[in-house]
């Protein structure tokens, strides 16, 4: 299969998945038992109030009509209007996305930069005490409740040691945000040479990034370790060794480069998880991203906002998967042949 054909096919697949996702969100809310109108109306609403809300939401119309209206709106980029902010949900989400992206990218960097060397280290010393410790750590980290871990970090770093800023938002109250260029405060502060804002933004990032980074480190360690073990047993590593290259050179030059290909997939999956799974962490640190927005929508029964959030996450996932597959096929042409 040529590269162009592969890309076209993969793009078509993404489109199909996307349509399926939109259908799934629709049916999730309309077909499953339970009544969105009564959720929106609240526990103490009268039957008339509930019926009025159902009419307003179009729930009294036949399902095919509802589906057509829904699809039409989504295709026009209309995710509905938030009852809390009074703004279109799409605008709300877009304005909060950079905060989430910044948190996700820093957490991904921490997880990869610590996780990969740990995995390599464990593989090189297979069967040693280091290996056992690293493996026990991955098992423990996978069982950590993220929301609880975040609270523990706040208690230790903010309350006991007093080295972290208060766990609220992206900057201290007195510091104005840097001019919006990318929306990532650290990058914008660097670009505008605003050191005070840069330092403060980093300080606010530290704890949520630590929480998310530790929680997502395990897959990097596991995959790096097993990929390294495979590669270290391969013929070309044997060849490199027999040619007299030093062990350090063999590990970091010959072996790691090939092990890195598999880690690309891990990075994609982890990034998807970080963009989606941080509702908990954003809530704990009052981080003004889409996760915190979703939590506010949940507590305020902001129906359109929740639905818009779920759909946004799904769209991000579909495109992320597409990007990974394409990147993979560019790096490793063998994939395309399958």
């Amino acid at each position: 299969m040529t590269l162009r054909w592969y890309l076209l096919r993969r793009l078509g697949l993404a489109a199909v998945t996307l349509v399926g996702v939109i259908f799934a969100v629709f049916f999730m809310t309309r077909v499953l038992p339970g009544d969105p109108a009564s959720v929106k109306a609240g526990a103490y609403a009268t039957e008339e109030a509930r019926a009025a809300i159902a009419r307003e939401m179009g729930l009294d119309k036949p399902v095919p009509v509802q589906l057509t209206t829904y699809l039409g709106n989504i295709l026009q980029g209309d995710f509905g209007t938030s009852t809390r902010s009074g703004q279109p949900v799409r605008q709300d989400l877009l304005s909060r996305l950079p905060a989430t992206v910044e948190l996700a990218l820093f957490s991904l960097m921490l997880a990869a930069l610590v996780g990969i060397p740990l995995g390599v280290w464990a593989a090189v010393r297979q069967g040693s005490r280091v290996d056992a410790l690293v493996q026990q750590w991955t098992i423990l980290a996978a069982a950590l409740p993220l929301f609880w871990f975040g609270l523990v970090l706040i208690y230790l770093f903010y309350h006991v040691w007093g080295i972290a800023p208060p766990p609220v938002g992206r900057l201290d109250l007195g510091i104005p945000p840097p001019p919006a260029i990318t929306g990532l405060y650290t990058v914008d502060a660097l670009l505008s040479g605003n050191w005070a804002a840069f330092r403060n933004a980093l300080a606010h990032l530290a704890l949520p990034v630590l929480a998310l980074g530790v929680a997502t480190m395990s897959p990097f360690i596991k995959v790096a370790r097993s990929a390294m073990l495979d590669v270290m047993a391969s013929d070309y590593v044997l060849a490199a060794r027999s040619l007299g290259f030093s062990e350090r050179e063999v590990i970091w030059h010959d072996a790691l480069k090939n092990a890195l290909i598999g880690l690309l997939t891990v990075a994609g999956i982890v990034l998807g998880y970080l963009l989606a799974g941080n509702v908990l962490v954003e809530t704990i640190f009052a981080w003004p991203g889409i996760g915190f927005y979703a939590w506010n929508a949940l507590t305020g029964s902001d129906y359109d906002a929740i639905q818009g959030f779920v759909l946004t996450i799904a769209i991000i996932y579909v495109f992320l998967n597409l990007a990974i597959d394409v990147a993979y096929s560019l790096i490793d042409p063998r994939i395309r042949l399958r």
Binding site: V21, M28, G34, S38, V39, A142, F147, H159, L298, V310
Partner: protein
Amino acid sequence: MSATTRAATAALGYPPAAMPVDPAWDPEEDLPTAETEPTRWQRAWRFTRPSRASLAVGLAAIGLIAVFAIFGPWLTPYDPNTPDPSAITAPPSSQHWLGTDQYGRDVLSRIIAAARLDLTVAVSITALALLAGSLIGAVSGFLGGRVDDVVMRFIDVLLAFPAFILALGITAMLGNETRFVVVAVAIAYTPYFTRLVRGEMLTLRESEFAQAALCAGNRRPRILLYHLLPNALPPALAQATLTLGWGILDVAGLSFLGVGITPPTPEWGVLVADGAQYVNSGQWWISVFPGIAILIAVLGFNLVGDWLRDNLWRR
């Protein structure tokens, strides 16, 4: 593999694939007879001397939580829901081992009382997902062709959501009830079982015993249910054990956010949320101890699930 393990496995008569095979060896000659062929479980047990410690730790953790769940009402030192105005946010002491919360309720009692709900919810989620997922996967893999294509496309769509967000969306739309949380999280985990069992089915379908059963005149539904499905289940069981742990994590996370199980019902996520606002002012025990309970439960299921997967999955 260590020299001892190799010697031990060789002595048992089951050379692993990596060991050199004697060229003069005739497989027909010493085919294992029916009564000496060890079951998958026996084989798993024999080969896993090194990882038995983690299995033991995992079983101990699950055992502790199970004791809480079964004997909870007799173990709680105080009533989990009765406030004590004289002991509000009391730190851990000899009277209240794990302290009290903002209403003076005993934290240890509430943790023990929550175990039953958390475990019941996790088991219900896993049972639903296992049942639905294996049935869909088995039928899809068995029939193959067009049906299989459509089912798998649908499963891919479900997998396009992160499980937690999917469950969050469904529960938020349906309303804050325990049964809705169970259904929502079960839907999120069904695709994992479907994919797994379907994969097993694809290979089992082509196996000789399936052909033999067909030749013997069995109807296809019977072959599917009695001959193939039982063989596809061991890997699904390993997955189920892992799902028990993930289910607890997800349910606790959802109720921490105020979705699903809501206060004052004692549930581990609710308990952590109860104390969240007190962490900033130093009353750490209200949130920290319930979180450790979650950690122990999830760790237990993960350790046992990993062991089962590593030793039962491989054929």
